[in-house]
Symmetry: C2
Subunit: 264 residues, 2 copies
């Protein structure tokens, strides 16, 4: 394991850039997995990172030691930093000091949208995106398509909120949703308060593409018009709408419920 | 309407304190509703604010003018600020410049927990709390109990995430949950991955108290032991758990679904 002790070390400077700057991450095609849970999930579901970085305070920590051992066995570079240098990289408060640098996964788009999927139009909040990825993975949905302008799925914030869900999903970013939805071979469903069909009445025991949008403005009207069905989550009259990640969770798990009922 | 133009004005300094500091809000027993939507919702469901503050750039804006008129009619103080002074108060980016100062609602606790409710043990994230309040209000739940140590429900962040749900709910803070749950006359339900009963199998067509906990550690074991029933949201094996606000939304709306089915 390589020890870096100086702030002026070239690799340390590169790590700081990756930790602090979305454009640096984009340019390098790399991102950061911050904390024990994400690192373990990555090793479990994907592969070895490019670099494993640990705080020298935590090298003896059992979980960190195990992560380090697995990384070294798989040929990943490992680096230890003094606690103060490590803290300048990490966004996890009071966490155990381990993080991975990984290549940001780049997947080739499928030719058509044909399996149960989530389609996100201009979703902004990293916490909402992470929560939606987590709910999708929990509900057994495997594909997520994000429009140009949506929050970056592989940012450290979204990764933390996703709690490892990223590694169970195929995530496509910067997608032209108009083209995607035009060619879809499964029904496109969107939630709306201007419809009477509830999610409970809709047949969800089939693959569908769930379309959700911007926190304030919702789905772009042109894309909304491409939905084959609009469904509503019945709510008491006084409240305007649910948080988009809450709506998504309700939809995905109503689909799970209908799948369970159909199997019984 | 009073115009304040100096940063050194005593009332402006007080407003800055309220905007910036949780302890100042607590000490004053006041909080801030930031933006058109929250102000409108407060006027609709509650009453006039103590103070209505507007940016002088926005006085002519139709929605702001209407809010101002309603405030003045109801005897609230109104203040205009130059845009730069206003921006130093507001946390809403690119918003329309209107905010309310209100007395933080303080409700007397009911003697017993006897109506459909949400009970939150040490929930930390303001976005999660706001989302849970929104989902609860949407599902027709009226009472929310927050433990000592939970995020402050009336902070500007939680208010923004709640989108007006606060004004449809009775929110009790700093609650001794142990005492509350000991005396409850309705079943206490908690989610757990260590149980086989799914939320779909559980009878939710009755008032229940939904118990949720800390984002990392979950519900305190002693409180968890007070749950009459633990239920699970069935998930694919690989993912650890859902975001707490997503879980809550799924539970609340499964209850809504069962209520609808029972009425049919």
């Amino acid at each position: 394991m390589k020890q870096i002790t100086s702030r002026d070390n070239a690799l340390y400077k590169e790590l700081k850039q990756l930790a602090a700057s979305a454009s640096a991450r984009k340019k390098a095609g790399k991102t950061i997995l911050d904390g024990v849970h994400l690192c373990q999930a990555f090793l479990q579901h994907r592969a070895a990172p490019e670099i494993c970085v640990v705080s020298d305070h935590c090298i003896e920590h059992a979980e960190v030691a195990e992560i380090l051992a697995r990384c070294e066995k798989q040929g990943a570079q490992s680096i230890s930093l003094p606690e103060n240098l490590y803290q300048a990289l990490s966004q996890v408060e009071n966490g155990i000091g381990v993080l991975f640098v990984i290549a940001t996964p780049q997947l080739e788009m499928p030719l058509t949208l044909s399996v149960n999927a989530v389609v996100l139009d201009n979703l902004q909040d990293p916490g909402n995106l992470g929560s939606i990825l987590r709910s999708a993975a929990g509900a057994g949905i495997t594909q997520v398509y994000c429009s140009v302008g949506s929050a970056s799925a592989w940012s450290p914030k979204v990764l933390r909120a996703g709690m490892g869900a990223h590694f169970l999903l195929e995530i496509f970013e910067g997608v032209n949703l108009h083209a995607l939805l035009s060619d879809a071979t499964i029904p496109i469903l969107a939630t709306s308060s201007h419809t009477k069909t509830t999610i409970y009445q809709s047949d969800l025991n089939r693959p569908v593409a769930w379309l959700f949008g911007h926190e304030g403005q919702g789905v772009d009207p042109e894309l909304m018009a491409m939905a084959n069905e609009t469904v509503t989550i019945p709510q008491t009259a006084e409240i305007e709408s649910l948080n988009v990640a809450a709506s998504a969770a309700i939809c995905f798990f109503e689909q799970v419920r209908q799948q369970i009922v159909a199997k019984e």
